[in-house]
Symmetry: C2
Subunit: 344 residues, 2 copies
Amino acid sequence: MLNQRQRDILRAVVDDYVSTAEPVGSRTLSRKYGLGLSPATIRNALADLEDEGLLRQPHTSAGRVPSDQGYRVFVEELMALSPLAPSVRADLLRRQAEAEDLRDLLTQTARLAAVLSGCTAIVRSPRPAGARIRALSLVPVTDRKLLLVVVSSTGAVTHRQVLLEEPIAPEEVAALAVGLQQHLLERPLDALTGRVLEGLAERMGRHRDLIRQVIGRVEAPDDAVVIAHTAHLARQPEFQQRVDGLLDFLDRPDRVLRWMQEVRGGSSSPGAVTIRIGAEHRDPELQGCSVVAASYTIGDEVAGEVAVLGPTRLDYATAVTAVSALAAGLSEVFGARLPGEGRQ
Amino acid sequence: MLNQRQRDILRAVVDDYVSTAEPVGSRTLSRKYGLGLSPATIRNALADLEDEGLLRQPHTSAGRVPSDQGYRVFVEELMALSPLAPSVRADLLRRQAEAEDLRDLLTQTARLAAVLSGCTAIVRSPRPAGARIRALSLVPVTDRKLLLVVVSSTGAVTHRQVLLEEPIAPEEVAALAVGLQQHLLERPLDALTGRVLEGLAERMGRHRDLIRQVIGRVEAPDDAVVIAHTAHLARQPEFQQRVDGLLDFLDRPDRVLRWMQEVRGGSSSPGAVTIRIGAEHRDPELQGCSVVAASYTIGDEVAGEVAVLGPTRLDYATAVTAVSALAAGLSEVFGARLPGEGRQ
DNA sequence: CTTTGGCACTCGCGATGCCTGAGTGCTAAC
DNA sequence: GTTAGCACTCAGGCATCGCGAGTGCCAAAG
């Protein structure tokens, strides 16, 4: 276990390294941080911390740098979170509430997270386990082309083209839409598995193939993740050589999505902030990176996450306050809007 | 005017520099390219080309590098375009035709362009001057929230939330939708200016405010540009120091859009390929970059562009064949689908 | 008159070596 | 337990050097 001095020093090392990106030496610590200790004393403490595996030396006569494990101790025990000023918080919430639609809301949130934290931000679209079909409509585009529009209880709108073999009359489309609505409205999206749909197709008789085609596509929503400000990653000195790998990773929504889900993984208690540091990531591209993610909720269910991504040397305290405030904002906006009263 | 030898040598310099990223010397040229000339002779020609402003020397005793102007001469007079193998072309078209909807089509196209050219690719959503409203629907989500869905003749689907002060009954929504359809279907999107809408709102009597709210938002489509594979930019040796500026630029869809429009600017003949090189860009972030853009059409109108972005040292021939093939593919897909027969 | 070989010259780049300064660990004194 | 002092280490900056790629110019050959 660490004693108070070691804790103070570890905190100082992390603070300094985060802001300078240079290994921190005993003299600097003694001068810049009010520890009231001589460099020599600090050196002893540093050596202890290194033995514990919380600090590393890039080379013999360099200062210390926090190890992944050191960051972990920092975020779990030492980090001083200063809550956002109420005015700032209110401003964030206002901006979120002003969003025009779901997409806009997520984009705005991601941008705000990026600006506040100085990192690349990622927001995962809401997909609560219990999302239901709130509205469903078939729009005839031509006599052989329909547009299926589904609005889920999260506010997500998905639309798919449906191309037909045979022409269909508008009245028939309308009848079909009513039929679908009867069977599908308020049903959970998750429940739209093969068997259920097969049954539905049977029951509705005509247009069986059409129905299959239509419904099989409802569950794949358009935007799984929104990413803002990748430029912040490229600015980090430690990534100069590897930006392309990271960009490549972020370019593939499916991978990012899987990864986000995995990050949340264990701790899925609503509102919790998950932090994953450096080697704790499985993906090789993400070595040297940390992610701070906060989940937001719709109703009482975890629906998605707001996250920021940066080098392990990142300002965890700022990141945590930013993502939790924004995730809370999302929860609030969803809470206010979605049960259905349509308040803006 | 350049003589044949100078032209051959300029072409060789560009070819070599594009593939190696190293300044090209007279010896290399004499060895690698079948010019049948001694290095000394080539040196004379190089000196001439430098006097013409088509080549530069990074420093005395280095090889030559094409200047922006040199690239311009290259693309206008010297570049040898080899058309794509029919099988490749067919494959591209097949992949485009398989796209599920507009969004998917544009994303696929951008990815293909990026892979073929080895550059970052940008596709601008179709917005032909004469795009019309093909379908329009109001989906009741709650009693105070509607979703307006508009399908344009380009296949673009836009949806907007409409929040109401007063609750509205579903039947009323349906009636309203019919009214809107009567007045708006097949009208050009461009014509939806304030005056027309005002008139419409008057004529429809009730729900005047609602109508205003609804229609004012139709014209701002969701996705103006699709960007693929920014990682390719980061990989370019010449951009190591400046990736962040470029990423920053690409992060703002509005700027990218404006810029794409400006690039097409002059030559708007359908199917034309526009190339803009280095200093020809106004934006300071784009110095040292080139863009190759081909426009695609819907009907006979230019609707948008497929473009690739890279360093001035880019493989213009490959880029040109790639973007023109893909733009032609888009034109074809739109041509086949959009008049309304819904063929896949 | 054009082409070419030869030659002197230039200059970036990588390797080498030196020095400095920041930083350490250890020990002995407080 | 803390601190001052000291010897030691090592990365990074700086100058030096040699190499090699490349040039321009000139005079001879075609």
